[in-house]
């Protein structure tokens, strides 16, 4: 085309850049092929095992841990802290006998692939993925390096593991699926006359979907009707809660980032009609929810760290380590909110539950 018979100096720069890129590609290609041939000769065809060994081999005795976090947000940060603290407790101190490489995508999914490859490239001995997109990006970057999931609600639906009990590949970890059924039961216990539950969750979050499914089953088993109210963003929450308050006896929210961010709005609107809100996270109860059975996020991190430490010590392989799920947690009730809504807390709950008040400045 035109650029043969007309070349400005800029056109030359473009041609030169393309040539450089092409050279890098061709050079890399021949180098890789050459290296592969070399390995094959040296080990008599056992190229694969050789390269895996050399890639997991540790330099100067330091083990490497790569952590990819999807976004900064109090719950995920708590998990991150839990992982690092637990590793320390198990004898792996950052900078002493392990190196921790941190990457944070800050919700920008276009960067997660590059970040994951970077961590794999650092020859990490174990990778930790916090939140589903981060875990998926890591899973896509490597099929050999062990990956420990932190805060993935439904690893099977996310396509990360085949089976919760026997993951089968290089991935295992901790599911942050809250004890949904127990939470619905708690709601019924506090409001025995309740007939209809409204589920409030974000339509854009994959983690909420499976929880709502479980919660619906639990509610129907208790003889209640379920109405689902998915919202596309925080902006529609106020109206949705108004509508829900007319239709439902109490509102249930799963572990959901969008709703968590807008919990003050939910409380405000629900309080106007005197509708209780049952949550999945302790922080949401402190923001004016009525009650939850909460799994501590920090505890999730600790469990994740424990699994990572086990792999580092060579005591376990992801393929045979079951995904850890919390079946129970602490019952947390907001006594202020209960009083306001005229709900009497049954004696057995009053004794076992942790009673909290609405935190000032959070409502």
């Amino acid at each position: 085309m035109s650029y043969e018979n007309h070349q400005t100096s800029h056109g030359k720069a473009l041609t030169a850049t393309i040539v450089v890129i092409a050279l890098i590609l061709v050079g890399g290609f021949t180098y890789e092929l050459g290296r592969r041939a070399g390995i094959k000769q040296a080990s008599g065809g056992k190229a694969v095992s050789q390269s895996v060994q050399s890639s997991t081999g540790t330099k100067n005795g330091m083990k490497r841990v790569g952590i990819l976090q999807y976004v900064s947000h109090p719950a995920l940060d708590q998990i991150h802290k839990g992982v690092v603290d637990e590793l320390k407790k198990e004898g792996f101190v950052d900078g002493k006998n392990i190196q921790i490489f941190d990457q944070n995508g800050q919700a920008d999914q276009s960067k997660l692939a590059t970040m994951s490859e970077q961590l794999v490239n650092k020859k990490s001995d174990v990778l930790v993925g916090i939140a589903t997109p981060a875990a998926q990006a890591l899973a896509n970057a490597t099929t050999t390096t062990p990956i420990v999931l932190g805060a993935v609600t439904d690893p099977v639906a996310a396509g990360l593991v085949k089976d919760m009990k026997a993951p089968g590949k290089n991935i295992t970890g901790v599911s942050d699926q809250p004890p949904v059924a127990a939470e619905i039961k708690l709601g019924k216990q506090l409001m025995p006359q309740a007939k209809t539950v409204g589920m409030l969750y974000a339509s854009t979050e994959v983690n909420s979907k499976s929880q709502v499914k479980t919660a619906t089953k639990a509610a129907e088993a208790l003889g209640m009707n379920v109405e689902k109210f998915p919202v596309p963003s925080t902006n529609e929450i106020a109206q949705t809660v108004q509508v829900m308050s007319d239709k439902c006896d109490f509102i249930y929210t799963p572990l959901d980032n969008t709703i968590a961010n807008a919990m003050p709005t939910v409380t405000e609107e629900a309080n106007k009609k005197g509708r209780p809100v049952i949550n999945s996270v302790d922080t949401m109860v402190k923001q004016g929810g009525l009650a939850t059975i909460g799994v501590n996020q920090y505890q999730l991190g600790i469990q994740t760290g424990k699994m990572a430490a086990q792999i580092l010590k060579g005591k376990g392989k992801p393929a045979t380590m079951p995904v850890y799920t919390f079946s129970t947690g602490d019952t947390i009730i907001n006594k202020e909110q209960a009083q306001r809504l005229g709900i009497t807390i049954p004696d057995n709950l009053r004794k076992s539950a942790k009673l909290v008040s609405t935190e000032v400045g959070k409502q």
């Binding site: 085309m1 035109s2 650029y3 018979n5 007309h6 400005t8 800029h10 056109g11 720069a13 473009l14 850049t17 393309i18 890129i21 890098i24 590609l25 890399g28 290609f29 180098y31 890789e32 092929l33 592969r36 900064s72 941190d102 990457q103 944070n104 995508g105 800050q106 919700a107 920008d108 999914q109 276009s110 960067k111 997660l112 692939a113 590059t114 970040m115 490859e117 970077q118 490239n121 589903t132 997109p133 998926q136 990006a137 899973a139 896509n140 639906a157 996310a158 396509g159 990360l160 085949k162 974000a202 339509s203 854009t204 979050e205 994959v206 979907k209 596309p232």
Partner: protein
């Protein structure tokens, strides 16, 4: 090394996004916000189709078709409905969020253990990341080839003329509305292709994958323009691809240099701003940039198919 190869490969996959935006933003001269919806839509349709058992190549094509439909809707809202183009794009973009949820039945769909387009290279036993590079090369070659063919037809010339001067084009008997619609369709088809390929590269589709993509597309166009200046039409498309690769390499560099990745968006904004500021510095120093010169002579390029220095 393999990281650089991977970035080059990803750059090629992302370059289709840049080429799509080039079709509307640079030639027709308007920003099309549909981008942030059609990009994840391409991925969503493609991944949903693969999950349903469709061949990955066909699935990618379905993704492209979905993107073209989205572009057509934006075009009709703009040309027939007289809705300002930015608003029309934003309307379609937000509507696509629901469309994706409908298509995927879930906000996020994984491709793990399912076939993808890269799998054709498995029997060749290529070195790591070269599957992405070859897919990228293939796609870039096909797209740029088709685009060059398109711009050399009478229709393509009429399309460029519409962007240059709409009223003049109208007086010459060119259906400018049709041109705008076609431009938006082709552009969003390309953007959706990029989305479908990136989704297969990343291994999942997600409704929020479109956030910030318009910045990536613009970056590749602008980096290409600033670095290489005055170019022929064909070269400008190549420059967009190279710009896209350079953007990915810059991001890699920022991550590699060990900056706190929490603030990565800040760094990418700085990189983009720097690129956009270079022409201002040049102007202050009275160095003409090739880009403006080129566009002033765009009609000459368009009719003769070659730049006139």
């Amino acid at each position: 090394m393999s990281m650089i190869i991977s970035s080059i490969g990803q750059g090629m996959l992302w370059s289709m996004l840049g080429l799509g935006i080039f079709m509307t933003y640079r030639i027709l001269g308007f920003p099309d916000m549909t981008t942030e919806g059609s990009f994840p839509l391409g991925g969503a349709v493609c991944v949903a189709a693969i999950t349903a058992g469709v061949n990955p190549f066909l699935a990618t094509l379905l993704g492209v078709l979905a993107g073209m439909c989205a572009g057509l809707v934006t075009g009709l809202l703009y040309t027939k409905g007289k809705i300002p183009v930015v608003l029309a794009g934003i309307l379609v973009m937000s509507a696509l969020n629901s469309v994706m949820l409908f298509v995927m039945k879930s906000p996020n769909l994984s491709l793990l253990n399912l076939p993808k387009i890269q799998d054709v290279f498995i029997p060749l036993n290529l070195p790591t990341n070269y599957d992405t590079v070859f897919i990228g090369l293939l796609a870039v070659t096909i797209v740029i080839g088709l685009m060059s063919l398109f711009f050399n037809t009478e229709f393509g010339q009429a399309y460029i003329a519409t962007g240059d001067n709409e009223s003049m084009a109208k007086s010459l008997g060119i259906h400018t509305e049709r041109m705008t619609n076609v431009g938006l369709m082709v552009s969003n088809g390309l953007i959706a292709l990029s989305g479908a390929l990136i989704s297969q590269h990343d291994g999942y589709a997600d409704v929020s994958k479109g956030v910030g993509t318009i910045v990536i597309g613009l970056s590749s166009i602008i980096i290409g323009e600033v670095l290489f200046g005055e170019l022929s039409f064909f070269q400008r498309m190549l420059a967009t691809v190279v710009g896209s690769i350079i953007y990915q390499l810059l991001i890699l560099l920022v991550i590699r240099l060990g900056f706190d990745t929490t603030y990565l968006k800040f760094f990418s904004a700085v990189v983009l701003s720097m690129c956009m500021l270079i022409p201002q510095f040049r102007r202050a120093l009275h160095l003409t940039t090739g880009f403006e010169k080129y566009f002033r002579k765009n009609d000459v390029v368009a009719t003769k198919g070659k730049a006139n220095a």
